[in-house]
């Protein structure tokens, strides 16, 4: 028998620990990506002279390079310039920044879908730039793009496995580490895959539902 059920059962608790780390990485990474992406989108949309161009390039560059290499860069290079973080923190920051480039594009689409009349009405009410974003534009822009953002959260959940390469001890690392101790990869890798599915499939279904609800309110 290729598959060893007893062994498979014995490693599940350890893999669940790994899943929990993966979930934590995803949650904190999501918070970073959502906030930073929002900032990037607003700055780019506001056409702030130098910063806007800079952020344009940031988005282009981050989207044009692999997350793995970005993670390596942060992990190996940053300590040389005196920035000290644990692998976990480094990983969370890297994946958060990486995804902020994607969420920024999502927000942009949302902002563009807010009708010009909303901006004009804000001017007519003498709202300041900050107030306009805060009370009028963003609440409407974000609402429409919640499903799209949700899809990126699921994507981030899956991509966080890449952080195992910089020794973040998440689900896949747990699996390979079990492999190094027991010299078996089949069960840990298969169960790790199933755990990823167990989270991402329901999450994706939930987002689909949300999307339908937003598209057809009430």
């Amino acid at each position: 028998m290729i598959w060893d059920w007893a062994f498979a059962a014995s490693i599940v608790p350890s893999l669940l620990d790994g899943l929990w780390v993966t979930v934590q990485v995803t949650l904190v990474g999501t918070a970073i990506a959502l906030l930073l992406g929002l900032g990037v989108a607003v700055v780019r949309y506001s056409r702030i002279p130098l910063l806007g161009k800079l952020f344009d390039f940031f988005v282009l560059f981050v989207r044009g390079t692999p997350l793995l290499v970005q993670a390596y860069f942060a992990f190996y290079v940053l300590p040389n310039v005196g920035v000290q973080f644990s692998p976990l923190v480094t990983g969370i920051i890297v994946i958060g920044i990486n995804y902020s480039a994607y969420t920024a594009e999502v927000y942009r689409a949302g902002i563009q879908s807010v009708p010009a009349g909303q901006w004009e009405a804000s001017t007519a009410l003498s709202l300041s730039a900050v107030q306009r974003w805060r009370f009028v534009v963003l609440p409407q822009a974000v609402r429409d793009v919640v499903p799209a953002l949700g899809n990126y959260v699921v994507q981030m959940f899956k991509d966080s496995a890449i952080l195992s390469a910089i020794t973040v001890f998440e689900l896949l690392s747990h699996a390979t580490s079990i492999g190094s101790g027991s010299y078996r990869y089949l069960e840990p890798l298969t169960i790790a895959g199933l755990l990823f599915l167990a989270v991402s499939l329901p999450a994706a279904k939930l987002i689909k539902r949300l999307e339908l609800r937003l598209a057809h309110p009430r």
Binding site: I2, T65, P66, V69, Y72, Y76, S164, L172, G179, S200
Partner: protein, 234 residues
């Protein structure tokens, strides 16, 4: 930077592997995407159901887990792929699963009348697909496929974790040998970026070329020379 100059050929060799992975990956992605996407839309349960399971599994798990699985677990089922093949298969299946949804989306987005117009002309299902549906759906697929291809290019870096000597793998090697961490990773970041940029510019070109509503081009000289006689100009 000067430390890594002697290793530049090594890195470029890695870049070549990366580009080869991307090129073969693109082919597999497209094949898988069309096969899975079309099967998914089939009315036959035994076609649509497995396609659906395939798509959900490959979209629902990590690319890296898939790669490890194909590399370290699949051999236990008696399937032994060389590293390059395992890598390219993992990439192609994963991105193909995303591509399948693109194919399906583009086809279902076509107005219903196109299919009905084709039925009214007694075209067979194959002819409908070949002459009516796909020629219109494919141009619509190009921009989203562009994103998938760029993703594919970036994901090739993951194969370095299963011993395939791509650009990232070579970079790790050069780094381990020289310790020139910043220069090595800086260099390959730029290389990846340029490759991704060129790829997306190329896809943009293709998109403009394939615009279906575009007026018919005047026939080129070649076409005029080699086209059989017919109704031109009648």
């Amino acid at each position: 930077m000067s430390q890594i100059l002697p290793f530049l050929p090594l890195l470029l060799n890695g870049l070549l592997i990366t580009l080869a992975l991307t090129a073969v990956g693109v082919v597999i992605t497209v094949l898988v995407a069309f096969a899975a996407g079309l099967c998914r839309m089939s009315r036959r349960r035994w076609l649509s159901w497995p396609a659906g399971v395939f798509i959900e599994i490959f979209r629902g798990t990590s690319m890296l887990v898939q790669l490890f699985w194909l590399f370290f677990a699949l051999p236990f089922f008696g399937v032994q792929l060389v590293p390059f093949a395992a890598a390219v298969l993992a990439l192609g299946l994963n991105e193909g699963a995303y591509g399948a949804e693109i194919v399906r989306g583009a086809i279902t987005a076509l107005p219903r009348g196109q299919r009905e117009g084709a039925i009214a002309l007694s075209l067979t299902p194959y002819q409908r697909m070949r002459y009516v549906i796909l020629p219109q759906a494919i141009p619509a697929m190009i921009p989203p496929f562009g994103n998938v291809f760029v993703d594919l290019l970036k994901n090739t870096s993951l194969v370095s974790l299963v011993t395939v000597a791509d650009l990232t793998f070579r970079a790790q090697m050069v780094r381990a040998t020289t310790g020139a961490t910043t220069a090595v990773f800086g260099t390959i970041l730029v290389l990846y970026f340029v490759a991704a940029y060129v790829l997306s510019v190329g896809m943009g070109r293709l998109e403009r070329r394939m615009d279906p509503g575009r007026p018919e081009l005047r026939p080129t000289l070649l076409q005029r020379l080699f086209r059989r006689g017919g109704v031109v100009g009648s």
